[in-house]
């Protein structure tokens, strides 16, 4: 077991006041809270910060922790002094689930307990809810699919102690799901204690970046390269959709950046989303002799100033 320097985690002195500790915690909690933070590894950082605060905010736990003195450095191998377990009075952390805190914490202060907000009737305790992200291709949201997710999850070992184990689940992706939605899998979270029910598993859906499609809710956006004559003359062009290729008639005189809507061609649902096609005019370079001649003819015979509105 490695020693944890809780003062270092919160970035405070060993003689910091309780107010200093609270301030430091609140600042770090806002920075790393997994629900609000965009920092990578926010969750792991937040757990460390929460654990440090759980000890240092409580004068009794803090005094007990301080007995180890400042000679201990984070990461050093640590064993509690003999007889430590017999200390009465520590009740672990209220409102947290098993597995939330490190072995170091649990050895010194006891396991985390439910209570607080969570159900606890008698010795029964509902298991931990587990959240994870599932990244899928947009095509899976269109057709529906089954995806494999591998998660680390709390489980009970043979002796009934909570351990973290890797679990692989096959999860059904419902047709028409959009990014940011959560799928709730009842009773697939952490195990309950004392006959309590297991927690739930929440999967947040994210789409993998796609070379062609971009989703916005249930609408799909596609950038469609077109030639100047296709938009000027209003030609029929091919457009990819999640259901396959369709023909799209460009209204004559459309410009670059114009967006056309294919109703009901987005992700399925009631109502289904739409597909938006953004025209992007591509001007072929005048490397080909024939094309160069045509450009020169246009230049000679049609004196157009597209910058007239800019006054130049």
């Amino acid at each position: 077991m490695k020693f944890k320097d809780y003062y270092e985690v919160l970035g405070v002195d060993r003689n910091a006041s309780q107010d200093d500790i609270k301030r430091a915690y609140r600042r770090l909690a806002r920075k790393y809270h997994p629900d609000v933070s965009k920092e990578p590894d926010a969750e792991a950082r937040f757990k460390e910060v929460r654990e440090a605060y759980e000890v240092l905010k409580d004068p009794e736990k803090r005094a007990a922790y301080d007995q180890f003195g400042e000679n201990w450095k984070a990461g050093q191998d640590f064993e509690p002094p003999p007889g430590w377990q017999a200390r009465p009075g520590f009740t672990g952390a209220e409102g947290f689930a098993a597995g939330d805190f490190s072995d170091f914490f649990e050895t010194l202060f006891g396991g985390a307990r439910g209570g607080g907000f969570t159900f606890r009737t008698g010795g029964r305790m509902r298991g931990e809810d587990v959240s994870a992200t599932i990244r899928i291709p947009i095509e899976d949201a269109y057709h529906g699919a089954t995806r494999t997710v591998t998660l680390e999850m709390p489980e009970l070992d043979a002796a009934g102690r909570p351990v973290r184990r890797r679990r692989t689940l096959n999860v059904k992706i419902p047709k028409g799901i959009t990014a940011g939605r959560r799928i709730r899998l009842e009773r697939q979270g952490g195990p309950g204690f004392g006959g309590g029910p297991p927690g739930d598993l929440y999967l947040t859906v994210e789409f993998e970046p796609h070379p062609v499609y971009r989703a916005q809710g249930s609408d799909i956006w596609v950038e469609l390269p077109v030639t100047p004559w296709e938009v000027a003359l209003g030609r029929k062009v091919k457009v990819p959709t999640l259901a396959g290729t369709v023909d799209l008639k460009i209204p004559p005189g459309s410009g670059s950046g114009k967006t056309l809507r294919l109703r009901g061609r987005g992700l399925p649902g009631t109502p289904p989303g739409d597909q938006y096609v953004e025209l992007k005019v591509v001007v072929p370079p005048a490397t080909d002799a024939g094309l160069r001649e045509l450009y020169e003819k246009l230049e000679r015979e049609h004196d157009v100033n597209p910058r007239a509105k800019l006054g130049v």
């Binding site: 909690a29 929460r50 159900f119 709730r184 009842e186 929440y202």
Partner: protein, 98 residues
């Protein structure tokens, strides 16, 4: 590490098509009834229906309530503070095209 593979699991998508009664909602969030009533009174979540016995909660409220519970516990903010953070987070999500 042990690995277990299970059969295909189907979950429930928490959107406007799933609804919960008050007691189902309590179970889904893992909290006592009084706490849900408090969240409704403080405007964190808004069920349809006139009184407690007829309240209908939509799927997205489960996500909202669970996040609010974590924010209140971890950031030591009150319910209105959590509700404000949630509104801003949802707005941010919309701006990022979700």
């Amino acid at each position: 590490m042990n690995e277990r593979i299970q059969d295909e699991l189907s979950g429930v998508v928490l959107d406007e098509r799933v609804t919960f009664t008050l007691s189902e909602f309590c179970l889904a969030c893992g909290v006592q009834r009084e706490l849900v009533i408090e969240m409704v009174e403080e405007g964190v979540i808004e069920p349809a229906g006139r009184d407690e016995s007829g309240w209908i909660f939509y799927g997205a409220s489960v996500v909202r309530a669970r996040t609010a519970l974590r924010l209140v516990r971890d950031l030591e903010v009150n319910w209105p503070g959590a509700a404000l953070a949630l509104d801003l987070l949802e707005e941010l999500g919309r701006l990022h095209g979700r």
